[in-house]
């Protein structure tokens, strides 16, 4: 039924796009559109390795794998065209995948879908196997209770926690099919459910599994009805979002959040590092702007601050010889907040914006240090700052201070450190 529905939907869309007002329209170049709109994250070859991919969490989909999280098809099966259209038009919430609906016509979306399917040979040889879907049950107290029982029976708490906050016993160890650490979704924040927050959306995640992630399909372990009831239950787990809070509720929320963050200080520190944008300068980039990911946080990006000279971003990993492994907590904090190095020399107020970090809360600073300590050691020796020769320095200063010309700040591709592995 669903398969027929989705394929007829596709045919309908196709019919709509191939003729407008009875006239044939030129076909959209899906490959060109993909290169323009999608490749910066998903990569030209569809491997999910575009120039911004190194920053993004979750990572952009690797289309060559043919594995998709958001489907209406059996686990392990390909998605339907309608599934792909939905992911593109509605976007994936709380990720960098935007809802493209306002920006692309249906015709363009379909052209991109056709192109995306060319990245995996599976689409040529297999058909998506759509699931048969029972009607959605009502949100009655009985169904919620039965869903709660299913939550226990299916051991959802092992990853998502008894309270649904994604802090179950094995949540820390989760990895996706590509070996990257991944997190169990916090079920109390339904606005962050990537594939949507309706009961149907939630049901589909249990029913079809989220292929490529540790989230399996539960259809073998339970009945269709139980999964629907579980979806009804999960849809009631959501807490109030910040934007609906009033008065003192907000202060209490922030207080609780701060207390909670002290329970996993490394994870909180990782978040603080992403607020401060540390990786943007403390990782080297290639000529094509892709991050050299083996050296993420290992520094090596070169900045020329005219006329003060060359500054290479420091190796923040825990490497004893070349990173922060040999620094004490206080030395790290002093540099981050005051720009004073271990040897007592001073950093100018840029490009490292320590004057801003001076305002970091002590608890956040502690967490940031804990996170940096947790980074696996990568050897990359960073040369000390190099002042230009005295003539260039004086000429630069003269231009800057007397002629009031604006001295440029340049950045350079490649790793300026000595090392890499």
């Amino acid at each position: 039924m669903v398969q027929r529905l989705s394929s007829s939907l596709f045919l309908l869309l196709l019919a709509f796009t191939s003729t407008v007002h009875g006239q044939a329209v030129l076909p959209v170049d899906g490959a060109k559109l993909y290169d323009e709109k999608c490749a910066s994250c998903h990569g030209k070859s569809g491997r999910g390795d575009g120039k911004y991919a190194g920053f993004l969490s979750p990572r952009p989909r690797d289309f060559t794998s043919g594995r998709y999280k958001f489907r209406s098809t059996e686990t392990g099966s390909l998605p339907t065209d309608a599934d792909l259209v939905t992911s593109i038009t509605a976007g994936l919430h709380s990720t960098s995948m935007p809802a493209w609906k306002p920006f692309l016509s249906q015709e363009q979306v379909l052209a991109v879908v056709v192109h995306i399917k060319t990245f995996s040979p599976r689409f040529a040889s297999e058909q998506p196997r759509s699931i048969a879907m029972a009607p959605e049950p009502a949100q009655t107290p009985q169904n919620i209770e039965k869903g709660r029982a299913a939550y226990e029976k299916l051991k959802c708490a092992a990853c998502h926690g008894v309270d649904g906050r994604g802090t179950g016993a094995i949540a820390q160890a989760l990895k996706d099919d590509w070996g990257r650490p991944t997190r169990a979704t916090n079920l109390t924040e339904p606005w962050s459910f990537r594939g949507g927050r309706t009961v149907r959306d939630i049901y589909l995640r249990f029913r079809t599994g989220m292929n490529g992630t540790p989230m399996p399909s539960f259809i073998e372990a339970s009945t269709e009805q139980e999964l629907w009831q579980l979806a009804v239950f999960v849809s009631t787990m959501g807490r109030r979002p910040l934007w609906e809070m009033k008065g003192d509720e907000v202060a209490n929320f922030y207080k609780a959040q701060q207390q909670e963050s002290s329970s996993d200080i490394v994870e909180h520190g990782e978040y603080i590092a992403s607020v401060a944008g540390c990786a943007f300068c403390h990782s080297p980039f290639r000529d094509d702007d892709t991050m050299i990911e083996e050296l993420k946080f290992a520094g090596g990006q070169r900045f020329r601050v005219n006329p003060f000279g060359d500054f290479i971003s420091y190796n923040l990993t825990s490497d004893k010889e070349t990173g922060l492994g040999g620094w004490t907590d206080d030395q790290i904090k002093t540099f981050v907040t005051k720009g004073v190095r271990r040897d007592g020399t001073r950093m100018i107020p840029y490009p490292m914006p320590w004057p801003n970090f001076a305002h970091m809360k002590p608890a956040d600073l502690d967490a940031l240090v804990a996170f940096l300590r947790s980074l696996p050691p990568v050897s990359n020796r960073i040369p000390p700052p190099a002042r230009p020769n005295i003539v260039s320095y004086l000429v630069g200063k003269f231009r800057m201070l007397i002629l009031q010309q604006d001295p440029p700040l340049n950045t350079y591709a490649g790793n300026a450190g000595e090392g890499g592995r």
Binding site: V275, G277, K397, N410
Partner: protein
């Protein structure tokens, strides 16, 4: 006597040149200003949030200010002046220039709520979208190595909401930012890009 005056003149001239060079060499005297004094401006920048009546909204805006501060937004988005970003007078009004190979030349945007030249007419979702994926309301892709949105793309929904709430409470400043141009001027042929921030490039380009 004449000879003596001549030599005195030369000595004075040499001393003056040496003194001037020494002066050039040592200013601006970052090393002699305590770090706390350098960082004070970043802490004092921005609006007085005590004026917000609702304690809930005030707390959200405070969080937004914290994120904007340690996210270093104002380093590029406060209008640059000879002494660095003008954190007081032109807070978040934009005007810094970045020219990047393969990307073009961009002037940092005006983030104040001014309706004509700032974010006044942008919806909350428009602002949040840029912070997630660099897509402007008109569908234009804002390059991630000019505005480092990829580095900021993992902020929670609630923190992005706090940032938007805070931006809405900053003082609206009329400061028109020119649209990006495809031309690239980088003075060093080996450099990937060039940032310029000693003056207001929005005004320079508007002339």
């Amino acid at each position: 006597m004449k000879k003596f005056l001549k030599w005195l003149g030369i000595a004075v001239a040499v001393a003056a040149v040496a003194g001037f060079l020494a002066f050039l060499y040592f200013i601006p005297p970052f090393d002699s200003i305590p770090p706390e004094e350098i960082s004070r401006g970043a802490g004092e920048a921005g609006p007085d949030l005590a004026a917000i009546a609702d304690p809930g909204e005030r707390a959200i805006a405070e969080r937004g200010r914290y994120l904007v501060t340690i996210g270093s937004c104002a380093d590029c988005h406060a209008t640059p002046g000879p002494q660095g970003p003008q954190l007081k007078e032109m807070y978040l009004a934009g005007g810094m220039k970045v020219s990047r190979r393969g990307v073009g030349t961009h002037i940092s945007m005006n983030l104040t709520p001014d309706a004509e030249t700032g974010l006044g007419k942008w919806s909350d979702d428009d602002i949040k979208r840029v912070l997630r994926n660099g897509l402007a309301p008109d569908g234009r892709a804002i390059p991630g190595h000019v505005m480092p949105w990829p580095a900021f793309s993992n902020w929670t929904e609630e923190d992005r909401h706090a940032v938007v709430t805070y931006l809405r409470h900053t003082r609206p400043i009329a400061h028109r930012i020119p649209t990006p141009t495809p031309d690239v001027v980088v003075s060093d042929p080996t450099a990937q890009d060039e940032g310029l921030g000693g003056k207001d490039y929005a005004a320079a380009d508007a002339r």
